[in-house]
């Protein structure tokens, strides 16, 4: 979706302000939100792509006004309501007022901690040979899906070079809308700064993205 989350190349957000000796969490509730997202994901309530899609789907003025973990919280709550794990009435009451829905992997308990401390595996068996190989010239498709995609706007329509084949992987565009894993080949594709940003660009800049095969065409 062409949301405000797709920020690459936008102007006007100002300087990067780094905070010295930043704590992991600034408020206790931030940790609670992060833990709830991790736990409910691990319990099977949603996949990581769906959770990203819900955060992106926040209204642009809300997305921009919220802190990071506020976005996580709002995305989580919306998602759990939509998936039927909680109800709007529960939220209004601040207590459970409706029956629970079974979780794919059951309640998240202390015994599940180690499971989430290892990154998930996203690689999958390919169903067809890779269409591109390192060195190939490719163009990012001019496509504007209304749902979740990992093809940023700033590369669409631009030509680059395949640098690396990263294997076959779960396709976020499908997984986010619960249309299955639909595995696709994944490549690192490098673009010249001048190709992306025009003649005024710093000529020493190169930008790469990791692009799924359906995002690319031969150039």
């Amino acid at each position: 979706m062409n949301g405000v989350h797709d920020m690459g190349g936008m102007d006007g957000f100002g300087k990067v302000e780094a905070e010295p000796n930043e704590p992991v969490f600034h408020q206790d509730w931030e940790g609670r939100v992060m833990a709830m997202v991790r736990a409910m994901g691990a319990a099977g309530a949603f996949n990581i792509d769906t959770s990203r899609y819900y955060r992106e789907s926040l209204a642009p003025h809300i997305y921009l006004a919220c802190t990071y973990y506020q976005k996580w919280f709002l995305g989580l709550q919306d998602m759990l309501i939509d998936k039927g794990f909680i109800s709007a009435a529960d939220v209004a009451a601040g207590h459970s007022e409706s029956p629970a829905k079974p979780l794919k992997r059951g309640k998240f308990t202390l015994n599940d901690l180690e499971r989430i401390m290892v990154r998930g595996k996203f690689g999958r068996e390919p169903s067809a040979p890779a269409r591109f190989k390192p060195g190939d010239r490719v163009r990012a498709r001019n496509m504007h899906p209304a749902t979740h995609t990992r093809l940023p706007r700033y590369v669409r329509g631009h030509a680059g070079v395949v640098e690396r084949n990263l294997g076959c992987s779960i396709f976020p565009d499908s997984a986010a809308v619960e249309a299955g894993e639909n595995p696709q080949w994944l490549y690192t594709v490098v673009f010249d700064g001048v190709e992306l940003w025009g003649a005024d660009s710093d000529p020493t800049v190169k930008v790469s993205i990791d692009a799924f095969e359906p995002y690319l065409e031969a150039a």
Binding site: G8, F73, Q77, H95, P152, D202
Partner: protein, 207 residues
């Protein structure tokens, strides 16, 4: 009411709306039997203590000291890190990219906040915020200037936008004046930002 609440009995007037809503959601998830509050505590503790830039620093220091490890790291970072039993497990999709006098690497996630948690911990606020996400791909030298970093004009800058599940670790250049240093000493020089590409390692002898 828990002990914690007794100690902060004035909390209610001061609780932010967000905090109240977060507490309510946790109550709902707990009452429905989806999560155990103690398990949430454990997740928070693990992210506060077990992961962090110290993990990445060990990997970098090892690469600076051991040419065979460095080769493996650049070829297959997941496999290389897997040989260090003491570093947390990184999953299948880690890529290490080497800074050289000719090329400087910088990592961003323009779409959200993808970051090598197992190597660097949870990302800092600036990494997840609009100024960095918007400008890193278009004006990386300007972003580096915000960090007080200047590179030679002719140095190539390669920006890695983390748009899939690959996670990138920058291998910074080993500082001069560190001949004969142990891996442990070297690891002390490796900063979080030097592994994102928005900083350099510390200079020996400079606090």
């Amino acid at each position: 009411m828990t002990e914690h609440h007794h100690q902060h009995h004035h909390d209610h007037s001061e609780l932010s709306e967000t905090e109240l809503r977060v507490r309510a959601l946790e109550t709902i998830l707990t009452e429905k039997g989806y999560v155990e509050p103690a398990a949430l505590d454990a997740i928070i503790q693990a992210y506060e203590t077990r992961i962090g830039p110290h993990n990445g620093a060990r990997v970098v220091a090892k690469a600076w000291s051991d040419p065979a490890f460095k080769r493996l790291l650049l070829e297959d970072a997941t496999k290389a890190v897997g040989t260090l039993g003491h570093v947390s497990r990184v999953g299948d999709h880690l890529v290490a990219v080497e800074n050289t006098p000719q090329r400087h690497n910088m990592v961003v996630c323009t779409l959200c906040s993808c970051y090598p948690w197992e190597m660097l911990g949870l990302p800092p606020v600036w990494y997840k915020a609009a100024p960095y996400r918007s400008r890193a791909v278009k004006d990386p030298r300007g972003v580096l200037a915000d960090f007080g970093i200047t590179l030679p004009k002719e140095t190539e800058i390669r920006v890695w936008d983390s748009t899939a599940e690959t996670r990138f670790l920058v291998l910074p250049m080993r500082p001069a004046g560190t001949d004969g240093w142990s891996e442990q000493q070297l690891a002390e020089l490796v900063t979080r930002d030097s592994m994102i590409g928005t900083g350099f390692p510390k200079t020996p002898g400079v606090p």
